[in-house]
Subunit: 300 residues, 2 copies
């Protein structure tokens, strides 16, 4: 591990968690940070998220071996251009964004002579901002690296070692496949959750108060991810458009088939699907990606 | 409160929780129980879910002032017919089913000379069977009563008092409105969760192992409710068909609008919706229907 100084650009949930995890698990590494929002910089300094919070991105990246851009994927290009002139030539550039083809393209354009290894730790909560981060966010979660063709193996190895030291498991994947997989396991679930919460808010014949009171029937589960950061998620859908539309098409086909089964009273089709879907939950629990407690361990 | 003996027909998650809540919070009331599955009867007796488990529904309801049918809504008619000849004439008949128009009709047909007050405690977990129940399931949750026209006020008051004593808040509603409200807050969320979990399982270009590994991106939330009891949920969709299809139509319209926004790169529409949906989560937490801890309080 040759990384001694890490600059974190963007000090929200992900940037803050990365900073705190570095401090706790790799205390030998110095951290610097920058956020374009002055209020976030102030709060990050108060919480001591990084060793030093700077007022410009340029100062933050000075002397670092690794810079991690923790900004919405739509802001990656601008954040990269912001540091292009002052970034040490040997520094590795990475990120934590949820779409990877767009990030790879934006980084290659803004920093053509730097080593860029995009990354996506598949972890988060519905909260955002400089108070949302915590050191154990990445424990047991997967971090996907999508190095472009020709990325130096040393940089990939360094970044792998760093994420593993922070508690994550690392997988290497090409950006295109990443975008397809995450469309299924993250982007479509968010889109559906946002949609159903919106649909429920807009009804005339069911009041908002009723929606809230009877939300324990299942709806409240969807409101959690529909409370996620709006800018981050707007950018995800705009930047992973093709894979999202492709997966949305498949989901809609399947939903239409179930709609037809309900309309025609075809209980067998419903029962067959409803029996099959239990297995996946069991596998997710067996693989340590969720807790076995009923109802997410909610306090009853 | 004139109820001294309650018969519980069906000893799964809901029947078992009702039994345990009665024992803990209304210990003066005697409970009897029956389940058509012999293995469930044996297990219920071992756990002491009710005072006495009987081998026939007829024996279980003998001498009771209230019988609560805790069976899938598609089995309500049969369960009611099963006790019609032996049920004391003064006994109130209720249930815990998720659709109420169909239940009201089935009870009126099977037990035309009894007082029937259908009920729906909006509470549950993804688990089922005689080991799944617990006494605090109804604490702070809403229980909706849908008494038919002409139901005696005394019966409604008795049932209200009983559910309140078990920790629930009670609301009276007509069956038709119940079915519309619950289609939104419970049935459509379940249908969507089952669908997306099915879609993710059936893909060729994304492996099942990838779906499981990267499920922390949002997908795992949906697998919880998609692990719910298949028979119960098949029956809900077959018995609340009209309201489910109506609400599904509205959801699909909204999803199509978002799909168009993604295709055309209309970030403003996405951002506007994603900002709006945060409020509902906050209201649900403020009203005590979910916990404020990030990520459902999952252990990080």
């Amino acid at each position: 591990m040759t990384i001694r100084r890490v600059a974190i650009i963007g000090l929200g949930l992900l940037g803050g968690s990365l900073s705190l995890a570095l401090r706790e698990k790799l205390p030998g590494i110095a951290t610097t940070g920058y956020d374009r929002d002055p209020a976030t910089r102030t709060r990050a300094a108060e919480r001591g998220l990084v060793g030093t919070v700077y007022d410009t991105a340029g100062e933050a990246v000075s002397g670092c071996e690794l810079v991690v851009l923790c900004v919405p994927v739509g802001a990656i290009g601008e954040a990269a251009r912001d540091i292009a002139d002052v970034l040490p030539s040997h520094a590795i550039v990475s990120d934590v964004g949820s779409s990877k083809r767009s990030v790879q393209k934006a980084l290659a354009e803004a920093l053509p002579s730097h080593t860029c290894v995009p990354a996506h730790p598949v972890a988060g909560t519905e909260q955002s901002g400089p108070d949302a981060g915590f050191a154990t966010l990445f424990d047991g979660r997967w971090c996907i690296l999508t190095p472009p063709d020709g990325a130096p193996q040393q940089a990939i190895d360094d970044l792998t070692a760093l994420w593993q030291a922070l508690g994550a498991k690392v997988e290497i994947m090409d950006a295109e496949h990443h975008d397809l997989v995450l469309a299924v396991t993250s982007h479509i679930p968010h889109l559906i959750a946002y949609t159903i919460v919106g649909t429920a808010s807009d009804m005339e014949d069911v009041t908002r108060s009723e929606v809230i009171k009877y939300s324990a029937g299942g709806f409240r589960d969807f409101t959690r991810i529909a409370a996620s950061d709006p800018v981050m998620w707007r950018d995800v859908f705009l930047n992973n458009r093709d894979a999202v539309l492709e997966m949305l098409g498949r989901f809609t086909e399947d939903l239409t088939a179930l709609q037809r089964a309900i309309r025609s009273g075809d209980g067998e089709t419903l029962h067959e699907l409803f029996s099959r879907t239990r297995d996946i939950r069991r596998s997710i629990i067996d693989e340590g990606q969720d807790d076995a407690s009923p109802d997410f361990g909610r306090d009853h």
